[in-house]
């Protein structure tokens, strides 16, 4: 960073106002404007007349919904973050890996719903669905790596990204050709209808299942990466793949493992997502994938805890944000703008803090 020293030299000679490069000035102005918009919007929403205001229960529901959705997004985000950590590439097709897992689970849940197995053994069938979805997603992820990404291992950086975009399109439309273009209703065990009361708060049972599963999955993953030998080699490859290969680590195998783990997590997320929204379709991967990527960036791409945190934050932002900020301005059906909100967060994070919340700031390298 040659310019840093220039800046320092100049800084000694100039006053603080002259020291601010115009670009940073614009960014500061922008952030002030955004903060003001957010604050005023929130204030306006919260001080609406009582009959137009959201009730406390609604807010609680928003928060729980946000947590559950954020947890799912976080699981998918882990797939992005793991691959990025090792290959420094955005696996754009990860959302499609997730989508295939959902379809894998769907066909079994559909059959079991008809045979009555789903409702007579809800726990067992849910566990089996998880395993099926995990295996499906894992297979797709590993195939994807083998066919599309491995031949491009040392290519210039934009090449794998373009490939990943192509692969994403290809996989989504493969699912369309395989399974049809209409969205299908996902059967949920009846035992999961209704609510449980936890600490005096009524929570949908599905959301409890989602949160518990995600916590288990993330714990297992952290332990795996921290304690096992494979996890260690993953960390080694992430740190420096060339040196790692000199130390006798089979880089290709580690990469495949990483894709497989990402696929497994996407499979878990797929089942949780399907039982939450009760439908699957070939387009479901794209938006969820982008949201998950946003979460990964928000938390700091390459960092496991960052991805989980980013997911939860994004989920909360998505469920609470439009209601809290946009309603105050009288914007009709603010939830339509939920996705725009996601992208806005993504853009702002990348502009202001490209390293993410927990990541190191490496703006120049990205």
């Amino acid at each position: 960073m040659a310019t840093a020293t220039d800046d320092q030299v100049r800084a000694a000679e100039l006053g603080w106002l002259e020291r601010l490069p115009w670009r940073r000035l614009i960014l500061i102005l922008l952030s002030v404007v955004i903060l003001a918009v957010v604050a005023i919007g929130a204030y306006k929403t919260l001080t609406l007349p009582a009959d137009e205001r959201y009730s406390t229960t609604t807010w609680k529901n928003f928060i729980i919904l946000g947590l559950a959705q954020g947890a799912i997004i976080g699981l998918i985000a882990l797939g992005y973050t793991l691959v990025y950590g090792i290959l420094r590439m955005i696996n754009f097709a990860h959302g499609e890996v997730f989508m295939f897992g959902a379809f894998g689970a769907f066909f079994f849940s559909d059959a079991w719903e008809q045979s009555g197995f789903l409702n007579s053994n809800p726990v067992l069938s849910l566990a089996l669905l998880l395993i099926i979805a995990m295996l499906t997603s894992m297979c797709v992820a590993v195939l994807l790596e083998r066919i599309a990404y491995r031949p491009l291992r040392n290519a210039p950086r934009l090449v794998p990204l373009i490939t990943a975009i192509g692969a994403s399109l290809f996989l989504a439309n493969t699912a369309r050709g395989f399974f049809g273009s209409q969205s299908r209703g996902f059967g949920v065990p009846e035992a999961l209808d209704g609510t449980w009361t936890i600490f005096g708060v009524e929570v949908d049972r599905i959301q409890v299942v989602v949160l518990v599963t995600v916590i288990v999955a993330v714990t297992v993953l952290s332990l795996f990466v921290a304690k096992t030998k494979t996890g260690k080699s993953m960390r080694a490859v992430a740190a420096d793949s060339e040196i790692a290969s000199l130390m006798g680590i089979r880089v290709d195998r580690v990469i495949v493992t990483t894709f497989a783990i990402g696929g497994l997590l996407a499979g878990v997320a797929a089942v949780l997502f399907s039982i939450t929204f009760e439908s699957v379709s070939f387009t479901m991967g794209f938006r969820v994938g982008i949201a998950a990527f946003t979460a990964a960036v928000l938390g700091g791409i390459g960092s496991i805890s960052g991805a989980a945190l980013g997911g939860v934050m994004l989920g909360l932002l998505q469920s609470v944000g439009p209601a809290l900020i946009l309603t105050g301005y009288g914007i009709p059906s603010s939830f339509q703008l939920k996705d725009a909100f996601t992208f806005l967060v993504l853009v702002l994070v990348l502009i202001f803090r490209p390293g993410g919340l927990l990541g190191s700031s490496e703006a120049e390298k990205v």
Partner: protein, 598 residues
């Protein structure tokens, strides 16, 4: 088979079989079963049966490096290897079909919707399982032999043969355009094309002979005649000018020859050429991967609508937008372009620091924000929101109607395309173009050399945005009414595919890319459903096999050869494989790399 390990042969065969199963499951066979290419028997569906075996055989008979020496496979063993691998693949495919038949087509269809009785009938040639399966395997073996031949026959035979074969398929696919041209020119077309379907056998033979002959002549004397033509092209400006005039003349009479329906397709192609040219400046010249290009397209279209007095669709009828003007299109379009350049600056400014994939994601996000907002109720009073707008100007001038007459629209689009092509051609050879090149190759070095990367990045965004908005303006005029469904991420991806498949930084590449990606699907409605699938597959394939695109940029491919060590290894590997692709392409190797050395 000596030269090729048995394991590789079997593996290639199984992969070919898996490919065929994939094609069956994704529904391509049923879709194209009846699309006749030559006669009544050779349908696109049947070509697709042969294709996986062909590709597998072609791949497995590739030259191998043994102990540091590159060895080609001999013709005889090439044919045998192709046949055996195809036999394995065909057998695998047959087992799958037999299994589907035994297990119950209806039960499989609950998961894979494309597996139907007609599919089984088609794959077994209406003879049922298992009587039809030997025919299937036999057909695969033919494909395998041809694949082996296409790789291992002497160059003087295999090049013309592949060129001829591809020409037959291409002309078969162009069955809705070539006969019309013939009739318009006053020729009989009945001997060439059967009425309302593909080539006749005689027609197929003629096309094959002409294409093969042309290819052989072009490559005669080991390509000496080709070199002579190319050299005279380079040295004599008159020859170049002549070529340019000829191309322009063809472009000018094209819609008159093709009639309204095909002119409409050409109009759509032109819109994407324009988008491709704009995106090419951003991605190809400046190296900034922009995935949100739809933002400019939407901006151009809606602004044109608003400025030329279009009105909003509402439940009660129509309403005037909150901001509205009633300008002439030819005035409004320049305002649109200027505003879009401003939007380009606005988008470019905050993302200046970001590079590579991060930039791609941010632009994707910005593009999506635009799509979401166009479709939201919030945007209702301005641009109609989910209901959209209608009554965009027809831009009538000199009695030409650009909305209802696709032939007239073609000329309007052509004018804009020529303008954009001229601008980007001049830019690429200017100081600005060289600055973009330098920036694309290494930003820090470019900075150190005194190139203001800020300025040139912003310039690329502004120019790319302006050209993209022209595409949007044209689209608005051609279609007359705007709905958010036209402005989704697919536009960005399609434009990107056009640029990349054509060849980054190459203007002819953009034209070819748009013709291939939009022209072909436009002419054959059967393709429509699989358009995105083919785009995705093509993007992956081109990145792996031929990263420089179909018609590479001259300067760019020279740079590719001079990249650093890691990239060098990759480029040479890609180069070795692209020879294989080049051999299948009509015209043989496109040979641009050689030209660069001069």
């Amino acid at each position: 088979m000596g030269e090729v390990p048995t394991r590789s042969i079997v593996r290639a065969g199984l992969l070919g079989g898996a490919g065929a199963i994939y094609v069956a499951l994704v529904g391509l066979y049923t879709k194209f079963a009846d699309l006749e290419l030559v006669g009544e028997q050779i349908t696109l569906g049947r070509v697709l049966i042969v294709a996986p075996a062909f590709v597998a055989a072609f791949a497995v008979t590739r030259p191998r490096v043994v102990a540091g020496v590159r060895r080609s496979v001999e013709l005889r063993s090439g044919l045998a290897v192709g046949a055996v691998s195809a036999l394995v693949g065909g057998a695998f495919f047959s087992v799958a079909i037999w299994f589907a038949d035994w297990f119950g087509v209806d039960r499989i269809r609950e998961v894979f919707v494309a597996v139907t009785e007609p599919l089984i009938d088609f794959l077994t040639f209406d003879k049922g399982v298992p009587a039809g399966l030997p025919i299937l395997i036999g057909l695969c073996v033919v494909g395998g032999v041809v694949g082996g031949f296409a790789r291992t026959a002497p160059v003087a035979i295999r090049r013309p043969a592949t060129a001829g074969l591809l020409a037959v398929i291409l002309f078969g696919l162009l069955q809705r355009i070539v006969p019309i041209v013939f009739v318009e020119l006053g020729f009989e077309a009945d001997w060439l094309y059967a009425r309302g379907s593909g080539l006749t056998f005689l027609g197929g033979l003629v096309v094959f002979v002409i294409a093969a002959g042309a290819n052989a002549a072009w490559n005669r004397d080991e390509g000496r005649s080709r070199e002579r033509v190319r050299k005279s092209m380079q040295q004599a400006p008159a020859a170049r000018l002549g070529l340019l005039v000829a191309i322009l003349a063809i472009l000018a009479i094209l819609p008159l020859l093709l009639g309204t329906v095909i002119s409409e397709v050409l109009g759509q192609v032109m819109i994407y050429v324009l988008l491709g040219l704009g995106l090419n400046i951003v991605v190809g010249y400046a190296g900034l991967l922009d995935l949100g290009y739809v933002a400019f397209f939407a901006f151009g279209a809606y602004t044109t609508g608003v400025l030329t007095g279009a009105f909003l669709n509402t439940t009660t009828g129509a309403a005037t937008p909150a901001l509205s003007a009633d300008l002439n299109f030819f005035v409004a379009v320049w305002i649109v372009a200027l505003l879009a350049a401003g939007v380009g600056l606005l988008i470019g400014a905050p993302v200046l620091r970001l590079r590579g994939d991060y930039l791609a994601i941010v632009t994707l996000g910005l593009g999506e924000i635009v799509s979401v907002i166009t479709a939201s109720k919030w945007a209702q009073p301005l641009i109609g929101g989910p209901q959209g707008m209608r009554g965009v100007t027809k831009a009538e001038v000199f009695g030409l109607n650009f909305q209802d007459n696709p032939q007239h629209f073609y000329y309007l689009a052509l004018a804009f395309v020529l303008l954009a092509a001229f601008v980007s051609w001049r830019l690429s050879r200017s100081r600005i173009g060289r600055a973009w090149n330098a920036m694309r190759e290494d930003e820090q070095v470019a900075d150190a050399m005194g190139i203001s990367t800020t300025k040139f990045k912003l310039l690329a965004f502004a120019l790319g945005g302006a050209i993209g908005s022209l595409g949007g303006a044209l689209f608005a005029v051609s279609i007359g009414s705007l709905t958010p469904a036209s402005f989704e991420i697919t536009v960005s991806i399609t434009a990107l595919a056009v640029v990349i498949i054509g060849g980054l930084g190459s203007i002819p590449g953009v034209v070819v890319g748009a013709l291939v990606l939009l022209g072909l699907p436009g002419l054959l409605r059967e393709f429509e459903e699989y358009r995105a699938l083919i785009y995705g597959g093509a993007l992956v394939a081109i990145m792996i096999l031929r990263p420089q695109g179909l018609i590479p940029n001259v300067r760019r491919s020279r740079e590719l050869a001079e990249e650093e060590v890691t990239q060098d290894a990759w480029a040479t590997k890609a180069g070795a494989e692209s020879e294989a692709v080049a051999a299948v392409l009509p015209g043989g190797s496109l040979g641009v790399e050689k030209e660069d050395l001069e």
